[in-house]
């Protein structure tokens, strides 16, 4: 019984509804419930209102289905889609910002390294130039001291030469005096000088 009804109603069109309803009603006529007594018996099994219920169910459910399909569900679907898109977009933006931050970090590190290297170079240069300056100064002082040393040595030599010359004179005078006073020998100055220089050797 249900099979035939099932296939009869499958069409779902309103033209088919009466025949289907008729079938249901007939079933109940043949069944145990006396159907013609309206209002009597158990209302859910009272076929009197079957056509009306089926018709109005078809109308209301049809309208409901149509409204949901064409208006409500695209609306909800749109909202959810929109949210999904927005979340994806935000995630993307966050990802982009993070990569930006990473880049900035890398740039900063690079900059820092460069600056450090530059500082190092500057320090090295300063040290080198200071060292060079010190070296130059040292050399200058060295030279100056050498000059002074040379001058001093020259003076010493001169003084020494002068002293030695005086020593010769003193030796000659001593010799002359000794010869004259002790030996009473009158020697000329030339003889004394040659004798002293010979003894000097």
């Amino acid at each position: 019984m249900f099979v035939t009804q099932a296939y009869a109603q499958d069409g779902g069109t309103t033209e088919q509804l009466p025949s289907e309803v008729h079938g249901v009603q007939e079933t109940h006529h043949e069944g145990s419930i006396p159907a013609s007594e309206h209002g009597a018996g158990f209302p859910p099994f009272d076929p009197e209102f079957y056509p009306s219920q089926i018709l109005w169910l078809a109308i209301t459910f049809g309208v409901f289905y149509w409204l949901l399909k064409t208006v409500i569900m695209p609306r909800i679907g749109g909202i959810l889609e929109n949210r999904r898109d927005r979340i994806a977009l935000d995630l993307e933006a966050a990802e982009r910002m993070r990569s930006d931050a990473d880049e900035a970090q890398a740039a900063y590190e690079q900059e820092l390294t460069a600056a450090r290297n530059r500082a190092h170079a500057i320090a090295t240069d300063a040290r080198e130039s200071a060292k060079a300056d010190a070296e130059k100064e040292r050399k200058r002082l060295d030279a100056e001291l050498n000059d002074k040393l040379d001058a001093a040595q020259a003076r010493i030599a001169e003084v020494k030469r002068g002293a030695l010359a005086e020593v010769d004179q003193i030796a000659r005078d001593v010799t002359d005096t000794i010869l004259r006073e002790v030996a009473s020998i009158e020697a000329s100055q030339d003889e004394i000088a040659s004798a002293v220089s010979q003894a000097d050797r």
Binding site: A6, P18, P43, Q53, F61, N82
Partner: protein, 252 residues
């Protein structure tokens, strides 16, 4: 018609509001039809109204709408896969219609549309009709393979196929009777216990004291009936999804 106020059957009575007679057929606009219209109108209005803000962060109402939408979508996707999603509007309509009709039945003096077998049977036939119709439309005669489980030895195949066919044919019956019987029985029980309160209270002081028990029972049953109303809508929708799966994937 005179009625005993504690009559548990009276709530299922259908009354003509606008009598409409076409030929031999009585298509009167009844209280049943009124509550079908109310169900549709209130549900549609709710779904429309709560989504008016199209909020990125949903409001409370929008959350309810979105939850029911995604709940149904997941239900259908789990049962029938992505290919079954073309039936989403259909399943969502069925679920929302049955759910709201059931819940409307919980309001005092409201008519319960789903407490009439013809309504649930029509919905069940619609589901099975869609399954059969789509099955043949999509797979042709091969769709009949849904009755032939794979891996069954040849000699018991006729028996298995017979069982499969019988089980398929009983689907609209079980689907509709389950919902109808749950709503009917629940409402009758509720009314009977509530009726006890009324009739016992009429007996005097002792009766009033004694009526506390059925009153507590009525309160508990009301909570239970809310659960049943939601649960049966869910069951109806889940079974719809599983039957639709047969239409989409006939080889199981």
């Amino acid at each position: 018609m005179e009625h005993d106020p504690t009559d548990p059957i009276h709530q299922f009575q259908i009354n003509r509001i606008v009598p409409i007679q076409i030929g031999d057929w009585d298509f009167s606009f009844t209280n049943s039809a009124l509550f079908m219209v109310l169900t549709v109108a209130v549900t549609t209005a709710f779904l429309y109204y709560t989504t008016r803000g199209r909020g990125l962060v949903p409001s409370r109402g929008q959350s309810i709408t979105e939850l029911s939408y995604e709940f149904t979508a997941n239900m259908l996707r789990d049962a029938a896969g992505t290919a079954g999603m073309k039936f989403f509007p259909f399943v969502f309509s069925i679920f929302m219609f049955v759910l709201v009709a059931n819940l409307f039945g919980m309001v005092p003096f409201f008519f319960t549309v789903t407490s009439h077998l013809i309504v649930t049977f029509a919905l069940a036939l619609l589901v099975i009709g869609v399954v059969v119709g789509y099955g043949f439309y999509k797979h042709g005669l091969k769709w009949l393979m849904v009755f032939v489980p794979s891996g069954v030895p040849g000699y018991i195949l006729p028996l298995v196929v017979t069982i499969e066919i019988v089980s398929f044919l009983s689907r609209p019956v079980s689907l509709s009777v389950r919902l109808f019987a749950n709503m009917l029985a629940g409402h009758i029980t509720l009314k009977v216990f509530a009726g006890f309160v009324v009739s016992m209270s009429a007996l005097g002081t002792l009766g009033i004291i004694g009526s506390i028990l059925p009153l507590l029972m009525t309160i508990a049953l009301t909570a239970l009936e809310f659960l049943v109303a939601a649960l049966q809508a869910y069951v109806f929708a889940v079974l719809t999804c599983m039957y639709l799966n047969d239409a989409v994937h006939p080889h199981h």
